[in-house]
Structures are given as structure tokens and as C-alpha cells.
Symmetry: C2
Subunit: 137 residues, 2 copies
């Protein structure tokens, strides 16, 4: 498996509205969607820049993963998501190669993608997500 | 100014050789260059994935920026670099819009790019780099 591109970069922020204003008014980018992912206890905002999305993440619960991340490390870069083809096979391959999987099976993420996370302890510190567009139904 | 794409993502690692092996042998990517940037006290390794590069950064001096980052926060995502057109004008624009500049003027970065960093205190926690390919001479 070779990732085709970087699907998105996840950035933890304390206040989604203020961070959106920075990306729009200072960097000139356009927020095209806001979505709540209840399972992950986050509200997300998306920006497209070339092939890649910036995904801002505001916690909706201090006990959720982004709430805990911000408490420990502050705002900033949170995870890196690669687009792959054949997510289930890719997960099996990286697990065989010694990577610890957070998600042993793909699950649904924001924007309807199939996603799975790899544990940063086996990726040299980077919380890594693999994503695949579901096949058209 | 609107960034055209994400030029690279900088990732701090303790051991460049081991991290390169992970990106090559587990994720299947190809390290196409290794470069030392003495001024920044780092050794870097580059991988291309779609439009974007992964730039692994190993510190060559514990007192350098990557050495200090790893001591404080551990390995992982370090900075996000946007490609822009007209770097000097872009710096002036973002400064007018309230961003604190680490580099008031463009300087030379890895791969011969003109670069400048924005301070994470004014970018909602993300150490942000703006890059431009120099004009052909």
C-alpha cells in the first residue's frame, strides 16, 4: 500500500468559531462544511487546500479525545490522515508489519469516509489515520 | 492570499533512520532526499505523497528547536507548511491581519525554498510555515 495523498490534517482548537475566522480571514481559505461527530465528541470544520483538507476539531466534551488532548498539550496539530485504496487490506498489512491498530476494522468518520486510526506508539509519535472513500452504492 | 496546497508537514522524530524505515517499509513511501539544515540544527528526510511532502526532522543539537520540542512534547507533528505565491506580500498581509511573524522576511529553507514561519500563538496553536519556490534564475 502506498497512500495516494494526504486526505486531511486534524487540528485541535479550543474555539471553532475563532479558529474558522483565522483560517478564513487571515489565510483566505473557505470553510465549506461544519459537522458534529457525536461518537468522537467533536465539532469539525473543513477547508480544502489543494488535494488536502484542514479539519479543525473542537471538543464537545472535556472527557472526549480532543478535550483530553487540549488539556494535556494545548491547541495544535492532532493527526495526519492518508488516503489509501483498499482500507481493510491495508490495515491487515500494517498490522503484520508491527503497527498497533486503534481501530481493527474500518469505521465511519466525518464526511462519510471509512477510516481507521493507527496508534502513535508505533508510528513514531504521529497519530495516523487511514481513510478510504466508500464504494459508490 | 490563498495557499495553493500543503507544501509539507514537518514531523519531529528522535531517530531519523528508524522513522524512515517505518515510512518506507510500513507505509510504502519512498524517501527521496536527506538534507542537513545546519542553521536549524536538523537533519531532514523527505517523502512525496500526492502534492505534499512529509518532512521528518531529527535534531542534531538538543538546544535546537527540534531538540527542545521533543524534550517538551515528544515525537510527532511539528509544523504545517502552506505553499503560497508572493511570499513577501503574503507576510505583510498576514502581519496586517494580526499574525505575529517569527520571520519578518523570507529566508532560505530546505530544498531551496523561500520560507517564513508564523508564531503558533497567533495561529491557534499550529506552528505554520509559508513557502514559495524561488523564481527561476
Amino acid at each position: 500500500m502506498i497512500p495516494t495523498h494526504i486526505e486531511h490534517i486534524g487540528i485541535a482548537v479550543k474555539n471553532l468559531e475563532e479558529a474558522i475566522a483565522y483560517y478564513e480571514k487571515v489565510l483566505g481559505m473557505d470553510c465549506y462544511a461544519i459537522e458534529e461527530v457525536q461518537e468522537q465528541k467533536v465539532k469539525t470544520a473543513f477547508f480544502q487546500v489543494g488535494q488536502t483538507k484542514i479539519e479543525l476539531l473542537e471538543s464537545t466534551d472535556p472527557a472526549g479525545p480532543i478535550g483530553k488532548f487540549i488539556e494535556k498539550r494545548g491547541e495544535g496539530l492532532h493527526h495526519l490522515a492518508f488516503a489509501v485504496q483498499g482500507l481493510e487490506d491495508t490495515l491487515a498489512t500494517v498490522a503484520e508489519r508491527g503497527v498497533r491498530l486503534i481501530d481493527k476494522q474500518p469505521r465511519k468518520g466525518a464526511e462519510g469516509l471509512n477510516i481507521a486510526f493507527l496508534h502513535p506508539k508505533s508510528t513514531y509519535g504521529t497519530l495516523t489515520e487511514l481513510c478510504e472513500k466508500p464504494a459508490a452504492e
